[in-house]
Amino acid sequence: MKSERIFVKGNEAVAMGAIDAGLKAYFGYPITPQNEIPEYMCEHLPEAGGAFVQAESEVASINMVLGAAAMGVRAMTTSSSPGISLMQEGISYLAGSELPCVIVNMMRGGPGLGDINTAQADYYQSTRGGGHGDYRTPCLAPASCQEAYELTREAFDWAFEHRTPVLIVGDAILGQMKEPLTRRAPRPADPAEGQDWRLSGAQGRPARIIRSLRLAEGTLARHNLGLQAKYDALQGLARADCFLTEDADLVVVAFGSIGRIAKSAVRKLRARGLKVGLVRPVTLYPFPSAVLRDLAQAGKRFLTIEHNMGQMVDDVRLAVRGIADSDFFGALPGNLPTPDEFEEAIAKACAGGRS
């Protein structure tokens, strides 16, 4: 494939990243603001040798993913907030069954039907498990079309390496904005992927069972300890994008599109002579706590900015606990935040610390 630059929406970048990662099955149900993904998939996935089904609901979508994932293929579904709530049952079963897949949430405002505007209000749901039971899901938060493409590709590798569902969270801004994208050559299919656990018909080997039920005494405890060890091992994958943090007095922490808008605000404040920097967590779970802790130890103060009423700020506070604290600024749902809006909040936090 020529590495030409194309002009696409964030949603299309996600779809392209998945197909180039070797996607073999996509199941989805329409919901704004992510409809470009199923629309892209129905046209292009069959060409790439994959299966597309418009499911009757998000409940069915995620369970179709479960079936396809059990066969060891790269499978995916995408949705937005209310739809992701419906998928939580299936996500819990996928985690319990240790099946790999990728789930994309292009977040919109809630709770309930909320609105169709951009928001980041599903942070708790994405990073705390979301469904029932003791589990976590790795969660990646791209901020641009190129990053959405790259992280979607990478998410499938994480999913198979760790046998876990992986979430990608964007929002309506990321899903709907158009930007240049450079696609890379598709990943060649690996026929050995999942070979030691996938179902394929019990030919020349004992039958395999993929399940989340563990009834015999001690088996669930052992299983959950195994899951926990997997989540502990994931901690090393934590990643953040740091911008002008070195000499900063105040570090802004913001993820996804809001991180990007905050970056513009930080630039403007630097031009005004204020020593501010930005940490944009790229992984929300595992959370890049070490990066923040190091900065806290170096004497920085923090301001967390989110498009919700305060969720990630809990993780920031946990990361710097005992050393520092974090202020919070929440953009209200239903509006598209601008750098100006953040500029004043950051300047205020900066001044507040000095006095």
């Binding site: 299966a51 369970n63 479960l66 079936g67 499978a75 179902l199 018909g201 039958a207």
Partner: protein, 252 residues
Amino acid sequence: MSENIVFQRPSVMADVATHYCPGCQHGVVQRLVAEYIDSRQLAEKTVMVTSIGCSVLLYNYLLMDAVEAPHGRAPAVATGVKRVAPDKVVFAYQGDGDLASIGMAEIMHAANRGERITIIFVNNTCYGMTGGQMAPTTLIGQKTTTCPSGRCASSAGLPLRMAEIMAGLPGVAYASRVAVNTTKHIAQAKKAVRMAFDAPLNDQGMGFVEILATCPTNWKMTPLAANQRIADEMIPYFPLGTFKDAKNAGAC
């Protein structure tokens, strides 16, 4: 004198005691599935989708690759399996609470899409595993723990006749209702199971078989009385028969 073995355990059936209650017919139904798989030597290319209910441990008894679905979702899971592995024989095994209550949307839509899968539907007119609560198939007047004075149509609706409903969907190639309460009925059931597997194998559509079975524990009956109840109460409301057969359209 040479021995002539006329009856033995199908090779895909594990040589273990099942957890089913005495007189429960899940075991009989599973044996019919095992006999079919054996007769066609399909074990190595079959993927079973097991569901929630007393049959959840089916994979301990039938030795084939299996994936366990959340309550009611087996037809969606089976869709995912079949769409990425069209060469496999895929069947889901569901109880009446699983299929006709929580999983009603999934079964309707998988059927409407004509998924090339087989559904083995065991109707025992109650939720067995959770202690005998009312199911969508509970008969009018039947007492359960959540309708202690008997199911009443005005508050709980009428029992759903799934085989007839399924026959009405174009994606279903074969739909029938059988029982396993007599040897004659078991022989008919064996044939119906075969037809329900053959329909998707022949690329005609979904194969669906509803099997009337006992739950002596929750019916609070002896196994023999439970068998009799199938004849006296269930069959009159849930008539046996083939409601759709694509190979034999119009002649049912």
